[in-house]
Symmetry: C2
């Protein structure tokens, strides 16, 4: 008899798991439950449709309902799972009752942290997540005069840029001293903040949210620095692991608030795997569990979970977390620790910084690329990087994430070879310059 | 007394060496001899001025004569060195006589291989090298109707693209079956060749040069496939190490035709270092010496030679040779071995290929990125890569060169983390897809 594999959640992790399970066992009966109307679209694209960089929401859909059905994946849309029992191997499904399974994959994703202030029930608070709601909110944006983005998280940065592009008076409030202050250093984010200001954005740092103000509808956001009049608040608080079902079923939760899984994405409960924003995974440098990574991480974890749930054998590596984004007129990115974060966590480090260029210095379109590298003292193993530039940031972050994971040192990077071709690469690679600068600072 | 360091050659290697020597010993008396009128410019930019991507030749100059003088580097321009003696520690300089030195750095660069056919003395043959000649040739190009580019070398590819942009009827002849056939595979170069043809270029592969035809001035190029009428031939033959002085002085020459140096860039003669296109260095995978690398390699080698000549201690690593360029409407690049070259050299290998995308599939400007990876059977260590795309090729080639050098495997690449952000990176990194494809082909 075909094994019954149930996936709870239709995001990147859930759909990655469902596809991988079918791949590993083509005879498996794979069923996905989602409370939403859709699966197989890219929520990461939503801010760019709002910003009009992408012309319509339809493009964000990867596959039709029919395509999934054709792959043998049975998706139950708008169907809420209210609980599961690892002991009885059942999920409780609203409207379906108790459904038996052989293997279960939990991919319940995240919830935005509650802002925890008065007025959170007013109309005019937008949490960017579901595409149907985004389509409705996009129409609302046409009439919005002023918006406040609450928290300079990665999504917050994308939404500031998008709302500026949309011609809306845009405010950003954040308790940190600069944008994305956990992940980036001030010298990296400075050009981004300048470019937002050129676009007219009002940046309110060292500013905490006190409440949402209005009668029925939002008319202002109250902050530690006074009220900001607005008709929209985009709430971009931290993404917290959505573990309510798993917690009720007795699965173990870790220090970062995510489900604890092993390298095969197996949870603490027999026959139950998990993947995506609802789990936590160890960092490759510190072994400390972290949570709330990218859609790419969720998808990869889903594939590992799905493969293993169906009887295969795949492992997931500790993460180094390359990241990158467009913010204002710049690209920023990095891997693992910023100087700020390493300092805050008490992780010993030495630092090198250099400002290089993206093409030959005389080639049209040449732009500066600032690179900062963090290394472990003594061994000089790379443990972090930060970058700001206008091209090639994603690829460099991917490179440096592999460097962190495999133990590449500053000496390796200082002597790296690089492509030199005027339209695409400068004589000196900025990463190498930063590594050389670090060594020079050590007097070596 | 200050040590006297003499550098023969004012290219990237020579100027890198001179600057590094001053850096390592600020009291050193550093003198550079060059037969040309200029140093400190980028010959690599010349094809792009011809193609009008760069508006003028002046931009290719990095520093003025005064700037070098200010750095304490004494440059003797238009001055020919006719010989040297490592025994007597002298260089013979035309017009200056015998000049004593304490340390000598040979950076005599390359010569284009002689085409070895009749008519090579006709007017209308252009060897792209010196900027003053390039400025003169650029005026000639205004009146050129048809041009033949001889050999699909990297420079040949740049010149085909430049001449097409210039609106000149452009022919390319090459004995290989496709462009850059030593470095690239046919599936990688195919889109480049298509884009040239769209620009009107005439590609003549499997075609050998038989002679240059004309009376005084070139009127045609004779080939194994007949004559091609033209008023210009751009001779882009192989760059051969220019070792005539060193050979006469008794220095050892290696199997690739370059000067043999150790990891400190020291030659076989006491007190003599060398760097750049006149030397050969071992490949990191095969240990086989290779020669004729990039300006970035020359500059790095020069810095190592100059530092060591002045009394410092720096080492140069075996090379993995990342390369990349714009050709037609595409970027191509890679590292170490192509499938073609590995097969020709009898290097055992397994291959994985994937076609990924450069941004989220729905983001404007998304382009395909084809990646091919070669690995050593068994260990699955990366030994080569090839890529074609429209962005991010240089940065990926740099990454993969470090991967080759440090022994990163296909398993590492198949499980690499990547930045996922719609405007700059897709859910799945093309490198990871190619590695996964390789593993799938092995049945693992």
């Amino acid at each position: 008899m075909a094994q019954r594999i149930v996936v709870v959640g239709g995001g990147a992790a859930g759909m990655g798991a469902a596809g991988a399970a079918r791949g590993a066992d083509p005879s498996a009966d794979v069923r996905v439950y989602t409370e939403f109307e859709d699966v197989g679209y890219s929520p990461c694209g939503i801010p760019y449709v709002h910003g009009k960089e992408i012309p319509d929401f339809e493009r964000l859909f990867l596959a039709t309902r029919e395509a999934y059905a054709g792959q043998g994946i049975d998706i139950h849309y708008e169907t809420r799972v209210t609980g599961f029992s690892a002991e009885h191997k059942t999920v409780s499904v609203h409207g379906e009752g108790e459904i038996g399974y052989d293997r279960l994959i939990v991919a319940t994703g995240f919830n935005y942290a509650s802002p925890g202030v008065p007025g959170a029930d007013l109309d005019g608070l937008y949490y960017v997540k579901n595409i149907r709601r985004a389509i409705e909110w996009d129409k609302v944006l046409d009439g919005v005069r002023a918006a406040v983005v609450v928290e300079a998280s990665p999504l917050g940065l994308e939404m500031v840029t998008a709302l500026c592009h949309r011609g809306i008076e845009t405010h950003l409030i954040d308790p940190g001293a600069w944008a994305l202050s956990v992940a980036t250093d001030p010298d990296i984010i400075a050009p981004v903040q300048e470019s937002w200001q050129e676009k007219g954005a009002k940046l309110h740092f060292n500013t905490t949210l006190k409440g949402f103000v209005g009668e029925g509808s939002l008319r202002a956001v109250a902050t530690s620095a006074g009220e900001i009049a607005c008709d929209l608040a985009v709430v971009c608080t931290k993404k917290e692991a959505n573990t309510s079902l798993a917690r009720a079923a007795g699965l173990r939760i870790g220090s970062a608030g995510g489900l604890i899984v092993d390298e095969r994405m197996h949870t603490s409960a027999p026959g139950v795997w998990a993947a995506g924003d609802c789990i936590e995974v160890p960092h490759s440098v510190t072994d400390i569990p972290i949570q709330g990574l990218s859609g790419s991480h969720a998808y990869s974890q889903g594939k590992v979970a799905g493969t293993n749930a169906a009887g295969g054998d795949r492992r997931y590596q500790p993460v180094s977390v390359p990241w990158g984004m467009v913010a204002g007129d710049w690209m920023i990115g990095g891997v693992s620790f910023s100087e700020t974060l390493a300092t805050a966590l008490g992780i010993p480090h030495v630092v090198g910084v250099a400002e290089g260029i993206s093409r030959a210095r005389y080639y049209p379109g040449v732009e500066k690329v600032r690179v900062k590298l963090l290394a472990e003292p003594g061994s000089l193993r790379l443990i972090g990087a930060q970058m700001v530039g206008r091209e090639g940031i994603k690829e460099r972050a991917d490179f440096l994430a592999m460097a962190v994971r495999t133990g590449i040192t500053i000496n390796d990077l200082a002597t790296m070879e690089n492509v030199y071709s005027p339209p695409i690469g400068a004589l000196n690679e900025p990463i190498a310059l930063a590594a050389q600068s670090l060594l020079a600072g050590l007097g070596s």
